[in-house]
Structure formats: structure tokens, C-alpha cells
């Protein structure tokens, strides 16, 4: 419903150590500060990189969330590909996928 709010949550999380601590302690409680759809909230709570990508989160925001979740680079890229496979094409924003789902462009 609100890609802006979803992105704002991730932006806050990426740059604020206090927010990171609250998120790690109780991710669901952390999301209550933001008006999200159930799908968006679940994507955050489940650290579902693939769905967040399909929902349209800018990669420059999502990349840092991936790092926060401890994802290695190749794994981060693969989760986005898997997201498109599971949920269909990117729904919003400017970070739509332009290569094939199984095409590993960076060799990663």
C-alpha cells in the first residue's frame, strides 16, 4: 500500500543504531511505529528480501537491510531473484529486474 512508509522504515533502520537494537529485540513491535499492510509487515518481520524487492524497495536501501540481516552478497542477489520467481515482477519503483531470473550477471 505504501512503498514510501515501507522504505522509511528501512531507512530508519539502516541509519539508527537504536532502531537496529529495537528491531533485533522484537521486529514485530518495531514495525508498529509504521502504518504498513500485512504483507509489508510480514516482509519486514521475516527479513524477506525477495518480497521487499518485489514490493519496490530501492536497492540502495534494501542492500543495507541485507547486510544488517547478515546476508553475503551472492545470497542477497539470489534472494531477490527468488523473490521475483515467487511473487512476480517488481511492482513499483525504479529497481525492476532487467535480466533473466537465473542469469547471474556478476557471476555471483
Amino acid at each position: 500500500m505504501s512503498l514510501y512508509t515501507l522504505s522509511k522504515l528501512l531507512y530508519t533502520l539502516n541509519r539508527d543504531d537504536g532502531a537496529k537494537a529495537r528491531f533485533k529485540a522484537d521486529a514485530h513491535a518495531f514495525t508498529q511505529d509504521f502504518v504498513l499492510t500485512d504483507e509489508e509487515r510480514q516482509a519486514i518481520v521475516n527479513r524477506d528480501i525477495g518480497l521487499l524487492y518485489v514490493l519496490g524497495v530501492n536497492g540502495q536501501i534494501l542492500m543495507h537491510f541485507g547486510a544488517l540481516c547478515g546476508l553475503e552478497w551472492s545470497d542477497y542477489l539470489q534472494r531477490m531473484r527468488d523473490g521475483v520467481k515467487d511473487h512476480g515482477p517488481v511492482r513499483a519503483g525504479i529497481y525492476a529486474m532487467t535480466t533473466g531470473i537465473d542469469e547471474k550477471v556478476a557471476g555471483a
Binding site: 541509519r15 540502495q60 552478497w73 542477489l77 535480466t99 550477471v105
Partner: protein, 272 residues
């Protein structure tokens, strides 16, 4: 005094964060070019360096997005990213609020630029600084052009912004260096990461090296997105640097390095 140095370079986080996944030759070539740029920069004895970046939501967000911003802080902290992930240790870089103030005041005569007494550096500034100022000795003035969250500033305004930087650098008694950082074509942080349009990059570099204003400004965002990806919007920082320097460029390094997600570029430009 005047603008004493102008350079452009890539800033992709993989350059440091995934360094071991490039080949030795790629790494040596790129790191060597950065090292040469550092020597050239130091030789101009700058009192301060304006690092013009295209930051990635470290400070600016769609709630209040400036098209242009310049730092006016006494200190700046970075990287905002996990230092282990980026493999660049945290530092407190020193600024010069008084110098920033004088530069910004002069620039405001022709361009609207937001001033920022707080600024956290992300990889867009930290990767170049890691190579160009490894010992954290330089005085830094961060600058930014919004290249991430559309609507974006038109290219002719990026040119005007570069002209304003030059006028301000010439108006203050200090020696000012300018390093602009950005990608040419790239599709960063997406499954397309590693896609690089070398032909498009080389065509852009031809225009940049010739400092051909008409051809540098002859891109639409739609065409850039199609040919150069989201990361291609960052050509704005290179365009501003060309406007500031006014001369011809010299390409020191260009090579597509997919695991770094960009055609890695190091170039300088003559100041006329």
C-alpha cells in the same frame, strides 16, 4: 584562491567490500589508479576537498529531498554501513564550517543548495576517501546531487551547480580540490548487479573527456535508465565536475568489473 584539482571516480561498495572477488589484475589496476590520483591530489596542496557524491539514503530521504546539498559541519562521521561489510573503518573526518559557509553563500547567488551541519558518509564518499585520504588528514566538504529518488534535477542544472562550485572555489582564499564520484552505467543492488553497458560508458566518457557540454547534457532520464540503469543517473556528478573544471579530461582507468557492479573509472580534468 582557485580550484586546484578536479577528478572523478567510482565509489561502488564492492571495490572494498568484495575486493577479493575481482581478479588480481583488476584490483591492482584500479587501486593503482586511485593511488596515482591521491599523489596528484596531494601535489596540488588543497586546503579542502569538496567530495561531490550521489549518496544513497544515508542523510536524505523522500520526506525532504534536496536536489543539491553541501556540508557545513565541523566533523562528519562514516561509514554509515557496517565497517566489516564495507571493510572501511569508521572515522571522524574534519570539516570547516566557516569555509563551507563562504562557499555556500557564493553558490547561492546562482543555485539553490541545501546546507547540512550534520552529514553521515556512506560508501559514496567513504570508498573514495579510503583511497585518497587513507590517514584522514584532509579537510572535507561533502556535496550531494540527488541521483536516487526521482524526480531528479535536470542535467543542465547539474552543469550550473558545477559552475557555481567553480565560482565559489575561485572566490575564497583557500585552495579547493573537487572530486566527484558516481557510476556511469550500472544496476546496483539489484539482481542485475554486474550488468555494465561498456559502449554507453565509453561514449559518455568521450563526451566527458572532451568536455563537450552539448553532448554531456544530451541525455534524457528515460534513455539513461534504459541504457545505463538506475546507477546511470549518477552521471550528474561527472557533469558538474566538467562544468567546474572547464578543461579536457584524462582517463586514468576504465574497466568493467562486474563483481564491483560498475565500470570502474578514475579520471582527472584540466582546470582552465
Amino acid at each position: 584562491m582557485t580550484l586546484v584539482f578536479t577528478g572523478v571516480c567510482s565509489h561502488a561498495p564492492g571495490i572494498t567490500g568484495r575486493s577479493e572477488r575481482a581478479t588480481q589484475a583488476q584490483r591492482d589496476g584500479l587501486y593503482g589508479a586511485f593511488a596515482e590520483m591521491r599523489v596528484a591530489l596531494e601535489a596540488t596542496k588543497p586546503d579542502a576537498i569538496i567530495l561531490l557524491a550521489a549518496e544513497h539514503f544515508a542523510n536524505f530521504f523522500m520526506n525532504n529531498m534536496p536536489a543539491y546539498a553541501l556540508g557545513m559541519g565541523a566533523v562528519y562521521e562514516g561509514p554509515i554501513e557496517d565497517p566489516e561489510w564495507l571493510r572501511i573503518p569508521k572515522r571522524m573526518a574534519k570539516g570547516d564550517p566557516d569555509l563551507s559557509l563562504r562557499i555556500i553563500k557564493e553558490m547561492l547567488n546562482s543555485v539553490d543548495v541545501a546546507y547540512c551541519e550534520e552529514w553521515q558518509f556512506d560508501h559514496g564518499i567513504m570508498v573514495p576517501l579510503h583511497f585518497l585520504d587513507p590517514n584522514n588528514e584532509l579537510t572535507i566538504i561533502p556535496g550531494n546531487i540527488n541521483c536516487q529518488g526521482p524526480p531528479l534535477t535536470p542535467l543542465h542544472r547539474a552543469w550550473a551547480f558545477g559552475e557555481a562550485i567553480r565560482r565559489a572555489a575561485d572566490a575564497v582564499p583557500e585552495r579547493i580540490a573537487l572530486v566527484a564520484t558516481g557510476g556511469i552505467s550500472h544496476w546496483p543492488a539489484t539482481p542485475d548487479s554486474g550488468r555494465i553497458n561498456e559502449d554507453w560508458d565509453r561514449d559518455f566518457l568521450d563526451r566527458w573527456l572532451a568536455n563537450d557540454k552539448d553532448r554531456l547534457l544530451d541525455y534524457t532520464d528515460a534513455a539513461t535508465y534504459a541504457e545505463g540503469g538506475q546507477g546511470g543517473f549518477e552521471i550528474r556528478t561527472f557533469i558538474a565536475a566538467a562544468a567546474a573544471a572547464g578543461g579536457r579530461g584524462t582517463l586514468h582507468f576504465y574497466e568493467p568489473i562486474p563483481i564491483f557492479a560498475v565500470g570502474c573509472t578514475v579520471a582527472t580534468m584540466e582546470i582552465v
